[in-house]
């Protein structure tokens, strides 16, 4: 992961278009000097959790406690009720307010979301989200932001999430609530940073996998968007499925692959399914069928003698 300074939405786009988008990245503003001395509030929110295309972005924004009103005056509200234009304008204003407000976003690539969700040990999207939020708060602490209060838009049950965060950060006053982005200005600011970063990242997506950009593009990335649907139908590879921009762990994507791509069977899944426990009586009395089996050495290595194909 690397760090880089950004001053407006255009910078974000330029930055994303120049890097390999298969890995995660954290982008941060400079830290205002005042945020290191005065007590600050920090807001956490995410963008792009539901879509089947592109990255999920986590954002934090912070400012001194008494500057919260100034953030509100800028017009920070729930990023979803603002137009894209308005969000980008506000993001520019947040960057201009660099003497009292700072932010940081983590762009979690679609490929790493799939890889997390499809690990042997299930690692849910909620866990990915929690870990990203925790990582960003830790980073702000390490960078010297004097945090006193943390406001988080919830993922999963709010009480449990609040308990988890309070254990990790006992020194902060933590509030986890649903729709926090509409209530707390610093969460609104975080939500704007995250949403602008997500939109820009998706807009300038560069296909490492050699997919041609079609004229229609790929739409919003939400499964119910007809443009997105068409994009998915048109970009199936018989063997590899979808390009890395698509979250193949999503049921929408998986369903299309099951219908239109080559079936894939994973060895381990079959093995784990057949765990027959022998009945206790089978240990007593002579076994009737004594078939000569191959030595475990060969069985463990899946070696068999073959005379024909």
């Amino acid at each position: 992961m690397e760090d880089s300074s950004v001053n407006c939405a255009e910078h974000l786009g330029k930055y994303f278009s120049e890097r390999d988008n298969s890995s995660n990245v954290i982008l941060s503003s400079d830290i205002p000097a005042i945020c290191k001395t005065e007590k600050c509030c920090l807001g956490v929110d995410e963008a792009g959790r539901g879509p089947v295309l592109g990255p999920m972005v986590y954002g934090v924004a912070y400012c001194p406690l008494d500057k919260s009103a100034s953030l509100k005056k800028l017009g920070c509200a729930d990023s979803k009720v603002l137009t894209e234009e308005k969000r980008e304008e506000l993001f520019g204003k947040l960057c201009e307010g660099k003497d009292y407000v700072g932010w940081s976003v983590e762009v979690i690539s679609p490929n790493s979301i799939c890889n997390s969700m499809l690990r042997r040990q299930k690692y849910s999207l909620n866990q990915v989200s929690h870990d990203s939020a925790i990582g960003l708060i830790k980073k702000a602490v390490d960078d010297g932001v004097n945090i006193a209060e943390v406001f988080v838009d919830t993922v999963g049950p709010a009480e449990k999430y609040q308990e988890k965060l309070s254990k990790i950060f006992p020194e902060f006053k933590i509030t986890v609530a649903s729709k926090a982005d509409a209530t707390y200005p610093c969460v609104s600011a975080a939500s704007i940073c995250a949403k602008v970063a997500r939109d820009r990242a998706l807009q300038v997506w560069k296909f490492e996998d050699g997919v041609e950009k079609s004229e229609d593009g790929w739409g919003s990335g939400y499964p119910n968007d007809p443009v997105t649907k068409k994009f998915l139908q048109k970009n199936i590879d018989h063997v590899f499925g979808f390009p890395q921009m698509v979250r193949m762990s999503w049921s929408t994507a998986d369903k299309i692959l099951q219908e239109s791509a080559a079936p894939v069977e994973w060895e381990e899944e079959e093995d784990e399914a057949s765990g027959n426990t022998p009945s206790i009586s089978s240990y007593f009395g002579a076994s009737k069928t004594k078939k000569r089996s191959t030595h475990p050495y060969f069985r463990e290595r899946c070696l068999k003698s073959t005379v024909s194909l």
Binding site: L118, D209, F240, W266, E268, S308
Partner: protein, 139 residues
């Protein structure tokens, strides 16, 4: 029934400088034919240990390792132009590529001697010790 293997001079001459990249996948892909491997499948070094590689297939995380075949052995890619319609007939296959290394992949697990494929390679040495004629030792 007999299986004939045809191997052109060109194939042999191309080896070992021009050998194909072989991936041993932990899954069965029910598809026969060409695949856009170099566009879609892009292994990178594992950041924790550069001995291993990582990649992604159909969204699943894969961990891999480059493996050399036992010395004295070669891997062959063979193609059958005409598949027989009945069993027990002579078959002819053409060697299209020769290789002496491949990348072995596991699903979210670093390759190790616990993997049947890797441990099976050790049978070659054992088999040689068991089956090769015993040389008489002159006093």
């Amino acid at each position: 029934m007999a299986i004939h293997l045809n191997c052109s001079v060109k194939t042999v001459e191309n080896f070992p400088d021009n050998q194909p990249v072989i991936h041993y996948m932990p899954c069965e892909i029910k598809s026969n034919g060409p695949a856009g491997v170099s566009t879609y499948f892009k292994p990178v070094d594992n950041e924790k240990d550069s001995k291993f590689k990582k990649a992604s297939f159909r969204g699943r995380p894969l961990q891999g390792e480059d493996i050399s075949l036992p010395s004295g052995y070669r891997g062959l890619v063979v193609q059958e132009t005409k598949q027989p319609l009945v069993e027990n007939v002579e078959r002819t296959m053409h060697v299209s590529h020769i290789f002496d290394r491949l990348t072995y992949w596991n699903w979210d697990k670093v390759p190790s001697a616990n993997d049947p494929f890797i441990s099976a390679l050790s049978w070659i040495d054992i088999s040689e010790a068991l089956h090769s004629p015993i040389e008489s030792i002159s006093d």
